[in-house]
Symmetry: D2
Subunit: 425 residues, 4 copies
């Protein structure tokens, strides 16, 4: 028994260490300069991510459960609180990039300080702590993905088009010579079904409660829409035809002169896209990526289809647990969507690209926000955002499950976001 | 038979004339100056409404069905198209208030011209025309409500606080001396129910198809939230507490320094609200009005409740057809919400104030947009807006039904919008 | 003596009546709708001008000197104060167009009320009153010009391109068939000269004191730059070459995509310009008009010349008093610049177009602002503006003199502004 | 002779090396993170300054005069051109802070590369090169000052209020216990005088030609306005009284809620100001600093005085050549204004704070811009800016002379800018 308990505590400590190491590993190849700059208000400097993911444990766990814990630096409460009004005032989000001090070395020391104290605390095996730790680890995994999306945005703003990754791209990044088989629309009968996360196992408040939902019969595409298909949309004038677009989307796309997904560039006659490996020729067989909800919706209308409801996606994904394994997640270190192939059945439900659903991010029936300060984690964002499902090439594997709901505003494009088509049956 | 047909045609003509007369009647007490100015991009000048509601028949009916029809003025195609990209380019919405020409007298002549030709056409009894006419009449009724909300906004921007209506307010505008009985939360069992408009009878594409929807058991408040209850929210610091608010809502309310509903003013020690009868003392027993979705949502959280789903509202309202009669609609000429009383059961489901639901404006399962140019009527607005139900004191009675879905952005406040609370059972 | 005094008072009353009549005459052909709308924050509705020019006498004269004077409407103190902080708070300038009430009929009554009381007061012959009246009349003349520039801007924003003036254009609006003779650059020796207004006669505080100023020898062009010459600038890529422009001007012109003077439009192959007579073919022989300082400066650099200093312009103009007579001023009712001709010597120093000088609007040595509330009339605008000289086709003749300093921000174009070239000798 | 020439070349090389060393020395105590971030569009990252001041020699000298010169990196032509349209397109100014690459180490290598080649070229003793070098050195000195003002702005945006300088402040930064003697207004007779730079010796094009200017008699204050005097202005409601302000200034100050000079903070009961030594108690005896033209002008009006004309300042300063020695310039490493004292005569004409003049930055009579690409150096900024005189505690001594004209927009405050009063005699 005692041994088991020790084992369990060691397991918790191992998970903690692994997540922390993985976060740090994402800074490989980056300089202190790369980690301090903020390229837009939506994105944060990597240094800020490194600090905030430590502040989270310090504030929600160490300060409450670790006896006589001394804050590493009390100013950090102000600097690295993200959006928790219940915690107190904080440094304004758009100004995160002005923090040249504390230095990256201070932040690394801060991380070390928090880790030391967390490991001491975790060794005590307190259940309350373990529960909060789990949230903390999932929180940090979310920031791992954001670190990649934010550094990609930063480097994309540099006329030198610098690459973060120096390793050669894997073969899966270039499509096969033969064309992809036609997309298949696979049927589901619908019915009064259960969706949402079960009580056991970790999930966020917004995924609960598991509840009944009535679905009409529908079809879901076997794979995401590819770059090759998106080029047809462009060539058919998709970005010039207001009749394909939502009204808000049309005005936004006109204001910012959208002509292609974010990070696409035309070099002479060829389309390229900017990635963490620098500027690369467009891989026609890979899922299209870095598109807004508005673009996804316009494409679907152009294709005579629609975006899936999040519940449609979830009942399909829940039925294929194997889809989570071998998906193209952050741990693959590819950090770009890879080519689709011509296997039968559903492909790439998980990993590669987040898939925009047509579902606004709303509370499930019976939703109640987490208790205490963490009540702000999800609930306060339930307006003006749409749900994305399935994770991306920048999502840590442990973060994903079929009930996971990601959400962004419909104009945002800097995430690894794509789409999968659906239609009524 | 022949007689019946004539009768039927005469009925159509009568409806047409009645709607047209009602539109014009709304300009009573207003000058040419009052009708040309645009007080904000969301609102339109009354002259523009008068012209646009004529353009609608001219473009969608007369030009297609009336032989040898001569446009009153071909420039009007450009000036008075609202948002139909399929129809062609148009005058920019924020510039509608710059059109001092054509004069109001020209627009009245235009209305007459269209009416004459429409009546000639309607006398022919063509079914296609009748169907389009019905849309045209419902369209015009929507603009009748907007005329009142837009002129209210315009007059509210005048430091003189001028009244449009010179008639004395009815007794129902001042609350009774005794306090209202406590709000009742009335239960419903939920279940797999039908929502949406049936095929027969007029309804917009966005209300269809009628479909099954699974509802958990819930409770709905017997009446809307009143001004008196809203004052408690204010006095309890509701506008200063970010924990009550959606994140987007909090930022918006801070940016524009919201401290009370739109049109409320504190005069010495007393709260007043601006209305079409000018500035009036706040009627504590009347439903709160001119609030945004963000405020409605914050109030519900403060009250320990939530906003209803639109389907919850609909199944309740559909079960009480009598609620539509005797409601406070535009035809009452009160044009303000009236006092709640202490009758048992549901009150004011229709009329008085539109009720914000927690439902984003999304397509129903199986939705397909109307055909042709009218496809843009509703579908392209299905992002970033929330559904409101039940109509207001400015809605024409014929416009409303239990399946009717109104929609606005969550920050908008110039409509007659209020809220009714709900909760899980 | 008594008779003389009566005569003098009658003269004052006559002047007053004449200016007031001239103001009203400018509304001919305009509707109430035309007079209530504000087309941009820089411009004001005509109704506002009509009211403000009455408020000026009421506030600065009647309330101080007319015994037992009853304000027409005390709200007007707030509504029609333009920018006098010393007088008190006031309606915000960009919201002047929201005032659909008071109605134009109220404003005309207000004018009548003020006129009646003013005439009674003027009959008393008080010197203090006469002095303030003179300012009031000059103030009203300034607003006469603004009424024309503001209504021109308003009508230009109407896609129907409506004409205010229905009378046929005089012959002087179309150039002669033969080309203009080359522009002459006429020399002046400079020296230690006197500039500024003398003590006697009316002038604004900013024109005083008359003072010595040392001028290097210079040359001034015999006539303003014409539309024909401006076309050469356009055709030579003047709007595309940053090296010709001031830095602030280049950024401004790029942001607003300037390609030609304000009100120019290309219709098929021909350049037209919008005027109070509607859209007209460009008159190549007339002075270019509706250009900003930035454009004037860029043109001068392109031409290898420069803009004149205001003192250079003044010493030339002062030496030719006959230039004021027969100039194209407001009273001509042409309200557009007319063709240059090939007379020798200086042409069009006065009237037609205001001429941008290179002189920032700064206080003269020894400047002291007028006393009391009128101290704000000129002095507080002495930053970020440039001086223009000579008056325009919309300036009342009585308003002009060689020392008169008009001033606008360098990006503003809706005044009748052109340029005359200068160079060092 | 040959020896002399060698000596002369060595002198040029020495000057070059000294300026370059001084630039680098300004980065002491700063990290790579401190040098990459841009805190506002007006300011540039220090890394950018380090690169741009090298690009200047590379582009204007090495590429033209150094045979077979290989650019260090051709991308730098785009990245580090500041505003020379004649040179070609360039990285947008507000995005300078996005350049995390090239790394600071690359930029230091770039500096070394340019220095090596420059020294080889300078050893050849070509007069054309020496002339351009002189401009390059003066250009680099201007950027030395900007480096200090820009890093001060950056650090001021950090809630930690970090100090760049760790050395203790000299005694001159704290005022003496006894109050300052009253400010003296010293007289000058004016007359027809010469101003502007002589032909011999280095000066910018905008300081020339030396020319006659007629000045009325005037008085100039013996010393700049102090922090103590500014406190009186604040306490007297100076920031709340629109009658003291220029119209543009009042609106700007209201929009940004100015209540004190930039960098002032109230800590409990005491005013402090942020400096490169961190937050410090306000030194009442030191010249007020970091004020806009609008504030300087309002203060002067409050004080019953005015700002000096730039010519007034110049004739005074030219008459006291000793004022340049022992002034508080960058080389003192104090980098803050020091206390005034009670010596008779003029104090602090040079150094400590730039003094706003009332003179808009305009071309002198006979001005002609420098030839070629350097024509853009000064001339294109001659609108909307005001002249400042005398240099500051962040100005390199070699940069200053009595004819030197600095210029900024009237709202800008991040320079070391103060004021000295003047009045008519």
């Amino acid at each position: 028994m005692e041994l088991d308990k020790n084992n369990q505590e060691q397991g918790v400590i191992d998970s903690f260490q692994q997540v922390r190491r993985q976060t740090l590993a994402l800074t490989e190849g980056l300089s202190a300069e790369d980690m301090v700059v903020q390229s837009m208000p939506d994105a944060s400097p990597l240094k800020w991510h490194l600090a905030h993911t430590s502040w989270f444990y310090e504030h929600f766990i160490l300060q409450r459960f670790s006896k006589n814990y001394q804050c590493f630096n009390t100013d950090y409460q102000f600097l690295f609180n993200s959006y928790y009004d219940a915690v107190g005032p904080r440094h304004a989000r758009p100004n995160r990039g002005l923090l040249t001090r504390p230095a990256i070395s201070d932040i690394l020391e801060y991380r070390q300080h928090v880790e030391t104290h967390m490991q001491q605390l975790l060794a005590l095996g307190q259940p309350d702590v373990t529960e909060l730790l789990t949230i903390g680890l999932h929180h940090e995994m979310q920031h791992q993905e954001l670190m990649l999306t934010d550094v990609l945005h930063l480097l994309s703003a540099n006329p030198l088009a610098p690459a973060m990754q120096q390793t050669p791209p894997p073969a899966s990044l270039s499509g096969s010579a033969q064309p992809l088989p036609a997309l298949q629309m696979l049927s589901h009968d619908g019915g009064l079904l259960k969706v949402g996360a079960a009580e056991q196992g970790f999930s966020y408040d917004c995924e609960k409660p598991r509840h009944q939902y009535f679905l009409q019969p529908f079809k879901l595409a076997s794979r995401p829409v590819t770059n090759g298909e998106w080029l047809q949309f462009i060539d058919d004038g998709g970005y010039q035809n207001p009749l394909l677009w939502l009204s808000d989307g049309w005005h936004y796309s006109q204001q910012y002169n959208w002509q292609a997904p974010l990070y696409w560039q035309r070099q002479q006659q060829q389309w390229c896209s900017f990635s963490l490996r620098g500027l690369q020729p467009l891989n026609l067989a890979a899922p299209v990526c870095h598109i807004s909800y508005y673009e996804a919706d316009a494409f679907a209308r152009w294709a005579g289809k629609r975006l899936p409801r999040e519940q449609e996606w979830e009942v399909i994904a829940e039925a294929q647990p194997e889809a989570l394994t071998n998906a193209n997640f952050l741990e693959q270190h590819i950090w770009q969507p890879t080519s689709c192939d011509n296997q039968p059945g559903f492909q790439k439900l998980f990993g590669d690209v987040w898939e925009w659903s047509q579902s606004p991010y709303s509370p499930y029936p019976g939703f109640s926000a987490a208790q205490g300060e963490l009540a702000e984690y999800n609930g306060k964002f339930m307006a003006n955002q749409f749900v994305l499902r399935g994770g991306s090439c920048a999502s840590p594997r442990q973060q994903l499950r079929s009930s996971y709901r990601n959400f962004f505003h419909p104009h945002q494009r800097w995430q690894f976001s794509g789409l999968r088509l659906a239609e009524d049956q």
